[in-house]
């Protein structure tokens, strides 16, 4: 019997491969929060081939006869959460040899079997900016990942653009973490930190100029320089600069550097954003906020406030959130939005900050961040109000495939913790399990 089912499964799979079309799946009877657009009661989310093909209700969405229907009984659907700053995957960027290492790629460092990746799935996170640390002025290149299931190598999690390049940013930091006076050529003061970074960007401008002048004459090209190549991508806006910055004056320094060199920036952490919210908004710099239970822990975050989200929203800045996992737990990412609302942010902007705002910060807004036709079918099913402490993430879908299901004991173990919850994931290659996007 099992064998028979297996054969049927294989043949179904083969048929779907041959036709190139998966049967559409309709998630019906859900309260849909599309983030872009108004919430829909008794909504329908239609998914096929990993994409959203329709969002609406029974009047606006026509279901074909071959549709697989999944009744969600009034549960909540919202876009998969986007975490604009995380450290899951046990990666490490630059080493202790120098304060600026743009040549180092986190790509060459991630353990995709690390339990942290599963915890993020359990928290409803579908896309994540995995970053190297903040102990350097520049600790290397960051990596944008889709937390797909059954990944065997890092390539299975990458996000590629039309030209086949994988997506990622570059990590900078100022403030106290990078100050290591006496340790090699690390800076001892804030002014030195800024000077070192400016020096490298000016070098990168020269490098870019030489490359441009060489034109098609390869003999005139400067020798390849991995660090310069990466900084030129930042100068060209192809690689977003994710800048760890806490104190109000450090934030202003980032804005000053951004103005000088014109890179695309995301202000990361921004503990004292509430002091310079208007300046941040005026500079049109997106800010990714972290919600920390209590102030302090280090000198640059003694004035961190739950009100940062509200203050930035009022000032008109683009506000996102991040876990900084392991600083906060990916499984409790929605809590950040809850605490921001507690301190005066609007519910709409808080949920936008968990999804669409972060997608914009990663330059992935055309593909993810909201439930809109044509976008990747990355979404989560919640037991209730996204901002309630009692709400659980029930299911997480990435490109139409279920990667987390709270009713699965293995997934539940990850969600709540327990013996073995922190072990690396076992590899199980399973061709058709979950592939139809419907129920198991």
């Amino acid at each position: 019997m099992e064998k028979l089912l297996y054969l049927i499964g294989i043949s179904l799979f083969a048929v779907s491969l041959l036709s190139g079309q998966e049967r559409p799946t309709a998630f019906i009877n859900a309260k849909i929060i599309p983030v872009v657009g108004q919430p829909i009661e008794q909504g329908i989310l239609l998914v096929q081939n990993g994409r959203i093909t329709a969002v609406g209700n029974a009047r606006t969405v026509r279901l074909s006869s071959d549709v697989i229907s999944v009744d969600l009984n009034g549960k909540v659907i919202m876009p998969g959460l986007v975490d604009s700053h995380s450290h899951i995957g046990e990666g490490a960027g630059g080493d202790g040899s120098s304060p600026i290492q743009p040549d180092v790629r986190l790509l060459d460092s991630i353990n995709i079997r690390a339990s942290g990746i599963q915890r993020a799935q359990a928290g409803g996170i579908t896309t994540v900016n995995v970053m190297p640390g903040s102990g350097h002025l520049n600790s290397g290149q960051t990596l944008y990942l889709k937390l797909r299931d059954n990944a065997n190598t890092i390539d299975d999690l990458l996000i590629f653009d039309k030209n086949g390049n994988y997506a990622g940013g570059i990590k900078f930091a100022n403030g106290t973490n990078t100050l290591r006076s006496g340790s090699g050529n690390f800076p001892g003061t804030r002014a030195k930190s800024a000077a070192l970074v400016r020096e490298q960007f000016i070098k990168a401008q020269d490098y870019r100029e030489k490359t441009r002048r060489a034109g098609n004459d390869k003999s005139k090209l400067p020798p390849r320089d991995l660090a310069m190549e990466s900084l030129v991508e930042a100068l060209d806006g192809k690689r977003v600069v994710h800048f760890h910055t806490h104190r109000h004056d450090d934030i202003m320094t980032v804005l000053r550097l951004q103005k000088e060199f014109g890179f695309k920036v995301v202000l990361q952490h921004v503990s004292e954003a509430w002091k310079v919210a208007d300046e941040i908004a005026k500079a049109k710099a997106p800010a990714s906020v972290i919600l920390i239970d209590s102030p302090g822990g280090k000198l640059e975050s003694v004035d961190v406030s739950y009100t940062n989200g509200a203050a930035l929203e009022r000032a008109g800045a683009l506000v996102g959130f991040h876990t900084d996992d392991y600083i906060t737990d990916s499984r409790l990412f929605l809590r950040s939005a809850g605490l921001a609302v507690r301190a005066g942010m609007s519910r709409e902007k808080a949920l936008y900050g968990m999804t669409m705002a972060n997608a914009i910060m990663l330059d992935l807004q055309t593909r993810i961040g909201s439930l809109e036709t044509g976008k990747d079918a990355d979404f989560i099913v919640l037991s209730g109000d996204p901002l309630s402490v009692y709400t659980h993430v029930l299911q997480t879908y990435i490109e139409g495939k279920k990667v987390f299901d709270r009713t699965d004991p293995k997934d539940l173990l990850i969600a709540t913790g327990g013996y073995g919850a922190s072990s690396d994931r076992e590899i199980h290659i399973d061709c058709f399990d979950d592939d139809l996007g419907g129920q198991k």
Partner: protein, 465 residues
């Protein structure tokens, strides 16, 4: 004459102002307040809908349904959606550990030696620490704080209210427990001891054995004195007589400690011994109090084997312990239950990793279901957040198996029981300290605010957090 009267009026107005100020401060200290709550969680019986708490002279004067309690005219009335007892953080380090996280405000661990039970928390506690104010603004009125985990015996803990100028003014219990840690975080590196778990146990046992010998010596001296002065008082010294062979084997140890002479007349014995013999050894003195079961050992142990070691040593020396952290408690629930010891479980949102890799958000609920007394804690954090807030930790526990009432109990009445203060704090009952927390909704919801905190009848926080 005119000038004169102006002078008098001038001074009279100052006098009036003075009176006003005095009166205001009097109101502050001896305020008579009626706190009305749409829901009042007394933690003694069911929650009261439309309840009133009358506060007079720092104590709860009355509590009940609004229909049954008449609010006297001169009482200041405060309205709240939800009223709970002031929250109790059953284990913290705030006040010793400060929010700056610089060497000068990190007083929770002294690393010169692995065992320093003589270190008093009261000599380190900073009442003005910003983190104390921070947790107070979320409704925390009492903290059990002191030396942190991370050394085999790091020092003493204390219990304090979260508002007041001096340590003397805020302290409820100056020596609450002795903080011990088993497992990875208390293993010393670089060839120093303890370098292994077995060595930790051996060192802890040796320390307890030393204290046992000191107790026996003190008691036999006292017995001798008693025998000299009062020949009829023989029975109380029987245990010492049985153990005069001085051999510290387990059988004698157990028989002696299971019938400790101090158990029946703990207080008087204590007074006698301290009166007769002034302290000469700080370390021995406090460890003897552990052996006499006056104060428990607070044993931070995360791995199941460390929890079992703690229970084994507690049994061997017949001491009281409180299990702390206990990430893997769910693996040895029966054993913990049989021991009768309570558990101050790790913060629900504590980070999993290393020896805490197996921790679960459901452990508090599993322990509660097994009938184990369990409290939640903010614990110790070395980076950010510098402290957790027990209100939030209880909220996550409530979302993972605990009922609303049981989750509240972990940060109120059950925490009070573990700290031995259930007659004074932890619930809203007549005669108890008027420590209250007020919220504008379900206290556990992310979007609810703490709107006020009262300690000893005084409003100590009115910011909306």
């Amino acid at each position: 004459m005119k000038k004169h009267s102006t002078f008098i009026i001038y001074h009279l107005s100052f006098f009036a102002l003075y009176l006003l100020i005095v009166q205001c401060s009097m109101i502050n200290v001896f305020a008579q307040i009626a706190v009305k709550g749409e829901t009042v969680w007394t933690m003694a019986g069911e929650a009261i809908q439309n309840g009133v708490v009358l506060v007079n002279n720092g104590k709860v004067e009355a509590v009940g349904a609004a229909s049954q309690i008449k609010i006297p005219n001169n009482y200041r009335v405060i309205n709240a959606k939800v009223v709970t007892p002031g929250l109790i953080d059953a284990h913290s380090v705030v006040g010793l550990a400060g929010y700056l996280n610089q060497p000068h405000d990190q007083m929770q661990i002294e690393s010169s030696s692995p065992m320093q039970p003589e270190l008093r928390a009261i000599d380190s506690y900073n009442t003005e620490e910003k983190l104390v104010e921070w947790v107070r603004q979320f409704g925390v009125t009492t903290i059990h704080t002191g030396h942190g985990p991370g050394a085999l015996i790091s020092g003493q803990t204390m219990i304090a209210k979260t508002f007041g100028k001096t340590v003397e003014a805020v302290t409820l219990v100056p020596v609450a427990m002795i903080a011990a840690t088993l497992g990875d975080s208390a293993i010393a590196g670089g060839g120093r001891s303890p370098g292994t778990r077995a060595k930790q146990a051996a060192m802890l046992r040796a320390e307890l054995l030393k204290a046992f010998e000191a107790v026996r010596k003190t008691d036999s001296q006292k017995t001798n004195r008693n025998n000299q002065t009062n020949a009829t008082n023989r029975t109380s010294g029987n245990n010492q007589a049985n153990n005069n062979d001085n051999s510290p084997n387990m059988k004698n140890l157990n028989s002696s400690l299971k019938n400790p002479p101090t158990q029946n007349n703990q207080n008087t014995d204590n007074q006698n011994s301290s009166a007769a013999q002034p302290s000469t050894d700080l370390r021995s003195d406090v460890m003897q109090r552990v052996l006499r079961r006056e104060i428990p050992l607070l044993v931070t142990a995360h791995r199941a084997q460390d929890i079992m070691t703690a229970l084994r040593i507690a049994k061997e020396f017949n001491i009281r312990i409180v299990l702390d952290g206990a990430s893997e408690a769910f693996l040895v629930i029966d054993e913990i239950k049989a021991s009768g010891f309570p558990v101050i479980i790790h913060p629900t949102m504590y980070r999993a990793g290393g020896e805490t890799e197996s921790l679960s958000m459901e452990t508090a609920s599993k322990l509660k279901a097994a009938g184990i007394t369990v409290a939640l804690q903010s614990g110790f954090e070395g980076y950010v957040p510098k402290t957790r807030v027990v209100l939030f930790e209880a909220g996550i526990a409530a979302a993972n198996g605990l009922s609303m009432r049981d989750a509240l109990a972990t940060i109120t009445i059950d925490a009070a029981k573990i700290l031995g203060l259930e007659k004074r704090i932890g619930s809203i009952e007549q005669g108890k300290d008027a420590d209250l927390a007020m919220y504008d909704g379900d206290p556990f919801e992310y979007t609810t605010h703490c709107t006020g905190t009262m300690i000893n009848g005084q409003i100590v926080s009115e910011v909306v957090r």
